[in-house]
Symmetry: D4
Subunit: 155 residues, 8 copies
């Protein structure tokens, strides 16, 4: 079985590549998906394709709804949803994705620094794992998918 | 992941071919499906296979129910449902398909000319995108599936 | 058990009142619901409450989405959905409601004149009854809910 | 039918009371529910009932999971979920609730000031209405539940 | 909690009345429902309300679909579905109801004479109880709903 | 897309082979499944594998429940369920399968001789097609899956 | 809203009464349900009602399936499922109920002594709260339903 | 169709290998999955990857929740869930898995020695087969998937 893992949230660091590289190195049978990570394209896709809007609200609405075609489809198709919160921005879309995945019964892994712990307590409470580094996410996938845990003999 | 896109609605122009050709040109990993687009076959399939009816109502009922085997199965299997409204006919079946897809939580793209905007407002309100041309639908698929948007560097 | 019946579609004749009066006369245990039937309010509700829009598309979008709060909630809550198609207008919202109800597995009764029979064949094919008059709908409710059929002794 | 409305999000102003008072004044058939709005109790409930934790992470986890018994049950039971974002705090729990409600197909109304518009675009895109004031929410409920719209004759 | 029990199947003996009388005598908090049990009305309801058909197939189709409005709604609303097979007729509708209830996860009680045991083995295999008499069904309801079992002290 | 078709019901004639041969001849992209059609094995599988039973009821129960592992899994996996009623036996399992498939929203095709028409009216009413011969079922599959209808030019 | 709480598991102490008394004292709007707690009746109900079995396996099967009519219906109807593990017996039915409730997305509260902590870790991991005493469960209900927490001012 | 079979429960004997070897010998089209069967890794995975915990409860909670990512995903993906109870330990996780699978409507096969029969009666009652040896499970799979039963001619 090929596991499907959706990588939601922060788009300004290379955490997705780190996880994908780790999974490749471990030869995991996994397929990753993600939102469009080009910030400008993600913001403008609606008006770029469907026509300009004078009002910023509708500019954003058109784009956000286009992005939702991708994100909701991929979350629904995923076995595991990893949601990363970074250091900047409101990142309400990441928390929205976590809630969306939770209601669908997806296995959720949250990835964030300790300083966000209190603010993210409701999101963490819906997760099956709370990690701090992409390497921990790789270790989780390695264990969960292949049953391998460093230092344990039979795995 | 191969995306599945159902192309519902108007059957008298070549909009489906335009979209399929655009997707092929972009080498998208997508599978299109559609209702039977031969108008006469679609009308007569029930009686042609299962026997003639004297009453037009049952003639139509037999055909419509056969077509439903195809259309409902394919809509349920689709990730995205594109519904096109043309210039002629009542096209209640297109609106029915849109409602059916909406209740299943499918991502809906509506495709119609501006003159139908007011009459289609409830259908549009259930869509994640409202387009006017098949080329816009191709651009949407290109963005949604492959994350590519003309003029944006990283995509 | 109180049955819940949603009366969708045409808003320019008094067919809803006819059905409600018939149900009352028969003392049926039924609760009717419906969309907002004031055409102007239904068109303008979005901008009246949430602020004007310069573009007719967004004017309509705001209204249609507000109306959807009511209509989708009530359709989901209904046991039976009656959808009436009148003589005028495109009435795509009525067909949309029928499709929405069909995907939810609701019992659907369609109400229309014979001249629309061919154009409505896909909608009719999803219905458990196709009626021509409000009185027939009352008779259906009387039979379905109370088991009473005029001229039959035990019912 | 009694409508059920869940009021999620910001807990430091009296917006819930404003909405409830407006609904009462209009004699709406509606039942409101909400998270526990005492900030301290909400933070400490887990350890207060189930025993202290030395580690803040588990202190918060215990509380957040207790609160989830209430919030998830009430969101699932609601017809409409109103989510308010205030001026302060990360409010990831509000966005989480919105995502949770969206995946369940609930009708969502978002309530926030214009300055959060861009950051909330994904949440707004999942909503059927975006309001700026509690009074607008009251007007929405009045229209959606009772079909009444100020200035329109038949409603 | 009021339990809802649907009594499906054979309509030529008074087994439903026996069960209802037993439940009343035990003061059980239960609501019974059933198909229309007037055989003639059940056969003719479609044409009586919606107009005659020359072809027996459509005569029956119209009636069966009207009856389905009642039966499917009530089965979906039931907690327990009791299906009785009598001595005569094909009774495929009873087996159909059992399959319908099974797929919905309803608790099924089958009621039939021993001579049908082999022919009904697939239906029995989907049931949580197989009874031979209406009195046994009453005893089941008394135990399941009120926890009372003749001869046992604490119940 | 490979369509999945489950062939339920009568096991004493070669109708399944006729349909499969027709589909092969037409090069349809379809996968057929069916219950175990060896009558003796189907009756005895439970006790043959899990140990003899003195009581015929439990002999049958063990077998029927083993068969249910196969039949329910395959029905749930199917796009189309064809249910054939033959000339002999009660065939309550066929009607049960039809009800099971109906509640799951599967497209149902019923296959039976005209003499069973009245007794099967409830089952037929849940079907999207009622055929009399296996060749008609092949024609339905050819039309529904490939859009081909003999004598119609574009299909 | 009346909350529905199912009290699963151990039947040899009066923990259910303790919880119910606490809820009554706090005037909580809650309805409790439970399995039949008379051990002998629970074991024998199947044969007592439906006839004796020579084989203990079928004696137990008949009883367990009757009990399942009650337990599965009440778990499905519940908002919160409390599962208590006592000091004796295997109590696999309690763990089964917990798994059943978890798959349905119910809010689960587990109640057990510290010595079972390791053996119950998978069950605890599916719960939103793990308590040691019935009084803690009362406090949880008081907080979750009424928002009251001893020592906190606004609640 | 490749059948998916999840092998839950006891991890101290080689029953999984016996079943897999039998399936391979019979050339069955089946894919097996299982929890991580290295006891130590299963206990420690949470802290090994995500950091040590001073409190055994949280040590276990972290591990159990990581394991749940694997087990719940694989149970949801399975067609058949085999649950084995061994001679030792509480094995509440096995019963939990059975309940979880039951609520999802999975076909369940329970595998245990006769001495556990009474204690497992609720679990057995939810199963479609109760076996005592891995070889019986192989025979079940051979029959259910390929229709082959030793000693029966046509299968």
């Amino acid at each position: 079985m090929t596991w499907s893992v959706y990588l939601s949230g922060e788009i300004h660091t290379d955490w997705r590549e780190t996880i994908a590289a780790g999974a490749r190195a471990a030869d995991l049978d996994v397929r990753f998906s993600a939102p469009v990570t080009d910030h400008a394209a993600s913001d403008d896709c609606g008006v770029a394709i469907l026509g300009a809007e004078g009002d910023k609200f509708w500019h954003d609405a058109k784009g956000a709804r286009l992005n939702a075609i991708r994100t909701r489809t991929l979350i629904e198709e995923a076995d595991i949803v990893v949601v990363r919160f970074g250091d900047k921005y409101k990142q309400w879309n990441a928390a929205f994705d976590a809630g969306y995945a939770a209601a669908l019964g997806k296995a959720i892994v949250v990835l964030h620094q300790p300083e966000h712990q209190h603010a993210l307590k409701e999101v963490d409470a819906a997760a099956l794992a709370v990690a701090e580094t992409p390497d921990q996410v790789v270790a989780i996938l390695l264990y969960v998918i292949d049953g391998k845990l460093a230092g344990y003999k039979d795995t």
